[in-house]
Symmetry: C2
Subunit: 292 residues, 2 copies
């Protein structure tokens, strides 16, 4: 079911969000109340952080984004120092593994209660070498929203990393039905957005481009990390409005995320996309913490 | 936190969805695994069923809708006979209460596992007499989707009752910020849809009307029940395409749902709507099982 080295930390949170205590518990024991709003309403936020030999990657941006998501959901502001310690504790426990990950979850708590629920689950990563080297196929799917939805309708929580991912999971199943490995969302007004659990990076005219974050998507922590690295390598980067037509002239593309890292895209719907094996390997060496 | 008579039933489900066993457990003990996809992805479906003196209301339509939601999420088909027994067992335990409710949840299960998770939570209802007699204020909020989204983009799961309700909860908070009690969604192409946890019924020209179900909304079990009752009372009913402009000439409106029953709407945004106290009382007497 899960890796034998899996780690589960349960947090005792004050109504303010303050981390009062942390307990490492048996990962197989039931941990959540049946009325926890995480389970009954998907009403909470999360982050998944990569761990390279005990070192959490891009921890500060992940915690910043957790706080941003929590604010969008009117949750208590997460106690970032407390959460940082929890992540490090899980990372320490998994320090013997080349690659691992930890998911941190902050929910609104048990329905009718006065305090949020928090937990952290960590385990060694699966082997993503096929996705990272051979690449993945993606299917373009309508996200149903206009690209300005975060501004016009903030209650739709576009740009918050919530636990309500049923549509993301359904989109991925639809992509698989279409013979692809992952989905890539497009807004109703024709802008490429993001995947269900990954950001898009495309190479257009020698520039690494990713969709602007004001189109109702999550700002990518891995994408940002990658762009800093690229800049250091002399590869130009930019945020851009990207249409499905733009994708047709991309000479390389990647879906980037915290755990799978940079998966080169080898097809978008029926169109093959070249895989830049050398650049993909360099990206993944960096993201895995094997190079600086 | 919850009523002392609360009841929690945990189901042992086979990979096929078959109910193998049911255990009544301590409602306060942790019940769910930290990797349950209900809690990490909002990846499951639910129903909330009203119980009047031990009698589950409209049980068959609720179970039918559970099966429909499960199919939209590619979940194993729920074992409806098994679930019916679970609901009746919880209802029996709550039979001493005038009004109670039970929420049944079917999730995709623990991530990486091969079987769904199921549970049922029941407890006596809160007192909704103020909402049922004085009425509620609703705020119109953009749902962000076109009304044809269920047909064009089924992966968005419009019309499935999923656990991914973070936006529904956020919409209700936004309604409260606007001085209202509940939200009422409108499609981007100008059709009135549903509330976060309730269906709309309006009286237009002497006819009780509710939005057509092909606009990406949940078919309302309580609304359907109410329309059958209304027909028996000689009150005409119909499904209709309803615009915000139509709401302005409604001479009565209700938000109807399984537990709160029929809450008359006394204002939509800034416009007052007349409350038909007599008809509201008759509706709620019927929905509470106090009349046939």
């Amino acid at each position: 079911m899960h890796h034998p080295d899996a780690v589960l930390a349960l947090l005792d949170l004050a109504p303010s969000g303050r981390v009062d205590a942390v307990r490492l518990v048996d990962p197989d024991a039931p941990a959540l109340h049946a009325l926890d709003l995480a389970a009954t309403r998907g009403d909470g936020v999360f982050e998944t952080i990569s761990i390279g030999r005990g070192h959490p990657q891009a921890l500060r941006p992940h915690l910043t984004r957790l706080a941003s998501s929590a604010a969008m959901l009117d949750l208590p502001a997460p106690d970032l120092d407390g959460w940082r310690e929890v992540v490090q504790r899980v990372a320490d426990a998994l320090g013997g593994h080349e690659e691992a990950w930890v998911k941190i979850v902050l929910s609104r708590g048990v329905d009718g209660g006065d305090r949020p629920t928090g937990w952290a689950w960590g385990e060694p990563s699966a082997d993503f070498s096929v996705a990272r080297t051979e690449g993945i196929r993606v299917a373009l799917l309508d996200r149903g929203y206009r690209s300005d939805v975060a501004r016009t309708s903030p209650w739709l929580l576009a740009g918050a990393k919530t636990l309500s991912y049923a549509t993301n999971m359904a989109a991925r199943r639809e992509a698989v039905r279409r013979g692809a490995d992952d989905a890539l969302f497009v807004s109703t007004d024709g802008l490429v957005l993001e995947g269900p659990t990954a950001n898009l990076v495309v190479r257009l005219d020698g520039v690494l481009a990713t969709p602007r974050t004001d189109v109702g998507i999550l700002p990518g922590t891995t994408q940002a990390d990658l762009f800093r690295w690229a800049a250091g390598q002399g590869i130009p980067t930019r945020l851009a409005s990207i249409s499905p037509q733009d994708l047709q002239r991309a000479d390389a593309a990647w879906m980037v995320s915290s755990v799978r890292h940079a998966a080169p895209v080898r097809a978008i719907d029926d169109r093959a996309v070249p895989v830049d094996a050398e650049l993909s390997a360099a990206m993944n060496a960096y993201l895995s913490g094997r190079t600086e």
